[in-house]
């Protein structure tokens, strides 16, 4: 059964929002009856939002400019958009030609309309979409990123989500990314807890990728024991467009990411690559939904989870191939490693195919470390504990290797090794 909208959330409901009034009103009218998604809702069977339900969060007011992330990403000259507890710290000037960034509240009506009208379209009546509806009703922070046709933006746009700076803050930011024809850009979500206070961010990113354009969307959830996040990304792809997603989740209390990719133009392609490493009592969950709505489109999906201690990894990947979408190639694999008796993995592929000329495959594996590989490494003189660490890191590395940015790949490898070094000392089992 779905969970009732808690009182603190009802109280926090604003009378106006940054969304166009008709859209905001429709959302506001629904949120109370929708409540929060519960375990009975098909898309929420494995992830319990009780920590949000039982929380007591208030909209963040913004804490000023002295908050800095502890992690430095290995980008030379990034364009930074810093959100502290969901509040935008300002829009940088001095942007490269072809790139424009404005705060959502300053954006024109067309942009605001687009930001709240994603494709594929969520439903204000569907409990599975309740968090998007809530975001629509409550969003007042956000940003619009526009890349002009033919512009290739070399510098990555880094959205810093710095959560937990103030006690019990919640936020509902909304981001719109629009790439014009043949444009190219990279957007990186740098997600970090800047304090150990409970926080909840319910963010939505809406992307439109015009013909022949390519958007690379990286999400790096780095840490946080008290961080709650529900994050949803929509992307609509026109003819020959590409959307490459790399999703790495290394921390957080309950993190739920959802990707809705509408592969809507002939020749379009999407990659959804992900690595989740839940430990302690973390729940790291990614749900992806790819819709092939046009012929000759392709998708490639590769997710891995490594669950340790009491951690839970959840992956559900849905691929829908519409009736007229012929000559589709869609591949999905989900490989999962369980390192402790108390860890848990839930993995589910879901294919729905209405066309007849498709090449589609999926596979899910859940297992422990391979004994034969361990023995092989030990016969080379590598001690048991190290051999285990090497195999676990190697398992993660196969996903990291798919990231096209050299510096980031190296940085992440080290980051993953650090996470693993943390475990091998205390737990060799």
């Amino acid at each position: 059964m779905r969970q009732e909208l808690p009182d603190w959330l009802k109280t926090a409901m604003p009378e106006t929002a940054v969304a166009p009034e008709s859209i905001a009103r429709a959302a506001r009218e629904q949120v109370e009856s929708l409540g929060l998604p519960g375990l009975r809702d098909e898309e929420w069977r494995w992830t319990n939002l009780r920590p949000i339900q039982r929380g007591n969060f208030a909209p963040a007011a913004g804490v000023g400019g002295d908050i800095e992330p502890a992690n430095r990403l290995p980008f030379e000259d990034p364009i930074r958009l810093r959100f502290v507890d969901g509040v935008l710290e300002g829009v940088p000037g001095d942007l490269p030609e072809g790139l424009s960034i404005v705060a959502l509240r300053d954006a024109d009506a067309t942009a605001r309309e687009a930001a709240f009208s994603p494709t594929p379209s969520p439903s204000v009546e569907d409990p599975n979409d309740a968090l998007v509806t809530l975001n629509t009703a409550m969003a007042h922070e956000g940003v619009v990123i526009d890349v002009a046709a033919n512009a290739a933006i070399e510098r990555p746009v880094v959205i810093e989500w710095l959560d937990g700076a103030t006690e019990g803050s919640m936020s509902h930011p909304r981001v719109l990314i629009r790439l014009g024809q043949s444009a190219a850009a990279t957007v990186v979500e740098h997600i970090e807890a800047v304090g150990d206070k409970p926080s909840w961010r319910n963010s939505v990113i809406v992307s439109t990728v015009a013909a022949n354009a390519a958007l690379t969307h990286v999400a790096l959830g780095l840490d946080g024991d008290q961080r709650l996040a529900t994050e949803r990304s929509f992307a609509a792809l026109e003819r020959d467009a590409r959307y490459h997603s790399y999703n790495v989740q290394l921390g957080g209390k309950v993190i739920r990411r959802e990707y809705d990719i509408h592969v809507g133009g002939t020749g379009a392609h999407t990659d959804l690559i992900g690595l989740m490493m839940p430990r302690d009592r973390q729940v790291l969950d990614t749900h992806t939904r790819i819709t092939h709505a046009a012929a000759d489109t392709t998708s490639n999906e590769h997710y891995r989870s490594i669950a340790d201690e009491h951690g839970r990894g959840v992956f559900k990947g849905r691929i829908l191939i519409e009736q007229d979408a012929q000559r589709i190639e869609a591949y999905q694999s989900s490989n999962n490693l369980i390192l402790s008796d108390n860890a848990e993995i839930d993995a589910k592929p879901e294919l729905e195919i209405y066309a007849d000329d498709v090449s589609c495959s999926h596979g899910a594996t859940i297992g422990r470390l391979d004994e034969e590989s361990l023995f092989y490494l030990r016969t080379r003189g590598i001690p048991m504990v190290e051999a285990r660490a090497l195999l676990i890191a190697g398992f993660a590395q196969e996903v990291i290797d798919e990231i096209p940015m050299d510096d980031l790949r190296e940085w992440l490898s080290e980051r993953v090794e650090a996470v693993l070094a943390d475990r091998t000392g205390s737990n060799a089992g």
Binding site: R378, T379, R380, G381, M384
Partner: protein
Amino acid sequence: MALLEIKNLHAEIDGKEILRGIDLTVNAGEVHAIMGPNGSGKSTLCHVLGGREGYEVTQGTITFDGQDLLEMETEERAVAGMLLGFQHPVEIPGVKNIYLLKEALNAKREAQGLDEVDTFSFMKQVRELVASMDMDDAFLHRGVNAGFSGGEKKRNEILQMLLLEPKLALLDETDSGLDIDALKVVSEGINRMRGEERGIILVTHYQRLLNYVEPDFVHVLYKGRIIKSGDKTLAHRLEAEGYQEILEEAS
């Protein structure tokens, strides 16, 4: 002192006795070939020597370089100088060859009380060895054996041996399934390892390898026992007459 001394070795797996009293002595400088039909216990002997879990030694002793081998963990055996070449080397995608080579070499150096190898001389040595095994440098940055052909995997096993310079190299059917070009490269590698300080055991199903690597001793393993030992002419007899003749003669 013998390098390896196996006395009355009995071993079983899942309660089934596979090795039924093996005696074998290998001295430094010697190359021994152990031949036998399928199911004779060749692989079990290699696994027991390597310390693989699941095999239970019920009787007998193994002394390696003066130490009780059965008391040592797999990795301790390796750093003490015993290296096992696999019949089916494992694919470990995600762990780069270069990384494995360096970790393995440093594990051995640490056991010897030496500092970690310096990267420059390590890379130089590795590149020379790669070239000598007729392999491409690019292989170093690929996952261990990942997507390798059978021949490439066996070359990689020999490459590791050439780098790690074991006191005893134990090669489990290294020649099986190799085409002739790969066999030549692998044999040259084995011949380069031969030396006063080193013992080599070739476990093989086929006599062909012994045309390229000439053994000092040949042993015939059958039903978990060495039923006949001799010099290299024994291998030629096996090839000419088959196992049956030898088995009848021995019984």
